[in-house]
Amino acid sequence: MPQMNMIQALNSAMDIMLGRDPGVIVIGEDVGYFGGVFRTTDGLQRKYGEHRVIDAPIAEGGIIGSVIGMGVNGLRPVAEIQFADYIYPGFDQIASQLAKLRYRTAGEFCAPVTIRSPCGGGIRGGQTHSQSPEGLFTHICGIKVVMPSNPYDAKGLLISAIEDDDPVVFFEPKRIYNGPFDGDPDKPAVPWSTHPAGEVPEGYYSVPIGRAEVVRPGEDLTILCYGTMVHVAQAAARLVEADAEIIDVRTMVPLDVATLRQSVEKTGRCVIVHEATRFSGYGAELSATIQEECFYSLEAPIVRVCGWDTPYPHAFEWQYFPGQKRLVAAIEQVLEAG
């Protein structure tokens, strides 16, 4: 099977969907002629033409607003917002228009729009090139929110997102575009070719939206994570030699509550980890869900490991980033409690 990194896998997903569905178009800043700042759309304009892979002005509200109009009028657009940090100028169009369109028209209108956006830190991007804003979007009813953690899922989930009749905000953790980063910046980078999920079929396949994946089965505790943190969690679990069950949430909305419940009912202990800031972060929703679903199975308080409640700091990148050390401490805390 071919080896792909996440960029190649995402490119392959768009290539396949542009080929299969004449209504699919790709639009964003630098996506066409240049091929994308992360090369995710490389070669697509040459292959499909300027009318289908479109360079947009630096105008995120215009990009997102216009893909809504395209979506209601017969197309299936994929918008790229170059960094998740740039999505805020388009937030009104997502929150007030895109997400609410179906409901306010009682199902008459829908916009099958996918908004792709690289997110997350660990790349020394500072405040405005490192954010993880997924929690803001999970709070808006009417959109789905997805974040893959590996090339196989990235391709399969992006194909599902494009085919979905609901709008999907698709966050791509850019720190793991090229390899499964385990949270240790001092170790040499590992490419996806060394990882089983770097094996990606050439052709069409999909990974369903709404299903979490148990990436490591275990008995002692459950670690809920997504994106880059899936790899940090695996490394941390190896350090403590705990028999951790690690769950890649994969899709924040809709959330696969059943898989989470099943795991925590078994282990009775739960650590939640994400890069985004802690207060009102998506981990709070996960924690509340576990409490509601598994209260009588819990043997210890749930612990969250998150970015600190500060803007993303340039100088303290690896203090801010929830690395192995903090995660190990949390795992030990949860195992020792009760």
Partner: protein, 323 residues
């Protein structure tokens, strides 16, 4: 000028304007009496704009509307019963009661929706126009917006993109002189919103928005340009709202004078059209009165339909969030 316009088109514009006027006057009273829940932004005074534009369109042409959107949907062919039902929050409404005044929309009529967000519509009209061009149709999309919305970033982004991609989009600015309660002179340093067109590389046209025939002619040229692949136009219609930003109060307000309101009412779009039709021997005063009476009856029937329609079922609260 109006010589090329057929009697049929003039009568069509006139009837559409009367339909809006009587619908809005009635809806305003019902809201004042507490029968319609929520805020209404009435289109009374601005009828010439919607009707002068809309007679050019088919149901396959798209429009995006504003918070002041009843007139746009009626001008595009909206039915009184489903519109009133929507305002009343009944299951028979255009959006099964879940949209309401500021969000009424209809797929079959190509009405992408009234919009409670000022400046929310223009980028969506750009996308609809993109799709029309992409799919090689001759259909256009029209974005109605106000002088207030012309200050929103969304308008700027939309206008730039429409011109850049040479899309079949017409930006129709209903300049009624106020952004909510703030006079235009206090919210922008220009008098003519159309001046902004040259900054995007599209024609900017100013027209008397109380004169439906003038709107009809200017809109016709812009729409023809768009259908011929010549790109967007910014059409500014100078108009006026007789009532408050929201609700029915017309006179005695602190932010504008009664004299100003009287001045604009002296140039009422329906009166001016009826004078023209009478002068040209197309429609007598008596025939015009008969139209008003006929429409009044239709409006009353719409109200009765809405009032006798069921409320949405409780289950529908949770429906249509996702596919």
């Amino acid at each position: 000028m109006s010589k090329q316009i057929s009697d049929e088109v003039l009568l069509d514009i006139h009837r559409r304007m009367v339909r809006i006027r009587i619908f809005e006057e009635t809806a305003g009273k019902l809201a004042e009496d507490g029968k319609i829940p929520g805020a209404l932004h009435l289109y009374v005074g601005e009828e010439a704009v919607a009707c002068g534009v809309m007679v050019h369109l088919s149901n396959k042409d798209w429009i995006t509307s504003t918070h002041r959107g009843h007139g746009h949907l009626i001008a595009k062919g909206g039915e009184f019963d489903r519109m009133f039902a929507e305002l009343f929050g009944r299951s028979t409404g255009y959006c099964k009661g879940k949209g309401g005044s500021m969000h009424v929309s209809n797929l079959d009529l190509g009405m992408l929706g009234a919009n409670g967000i000022v400046g929310g519509g223009p980028p969506i009209a750009v996308g609809a126009g993109f799709s029309n061009k992409f799919r090689k149709t001759k259909n256009v999309s029209i974005s109605f917006f106000g002088d207030g919305a012309s200050n929103e970033g969304a308008f700027h982004e939309a206008a730039n993109m429409a011109a850049l991609y040479k899309l079949p989009v017409i930006f129709v600015c209903e300049n009624n002189g106020y952004g909510e309660y703030t006079p235009q002179a206090n919210h922008q340093a220009i008098v003519d919103v159309a001046d902004r067109a040259s900054g995007y590389g599209m024609p900017g046209v100013i027209v008397d928005g109380m004169d439906a025939v003038a709107v009809y002619e200017a809109a016709g040229e812009a729409i023809e340009r768009a259908r011929n692949g010549e790109g967007p136009t910014l059409l500014e219609c100078k108009t006026y709202r007789y009532y408050d930003h929201v609700g029915v109060r017309g006179m005695g307000m602190t932010y504008r004078t009664d004299e100003e309101v009287e001045y604009w009412k002296g140039r009422d779009p329906i009166d001016m059209m009826e004078a023209r039709l009478a002068e040209q021997g197309i429609l007598s005063k008596k025939d015009a009165e008969a139209i008003h009476e006929e429409v009044t009856k239709q409006v009353q029937a719409g109200v009765e339909f809405a009032e006798s329609s069921p409320m949405p079922t409780p289950e529908s609260l949770l429906e249509d969030v996702y596919a």
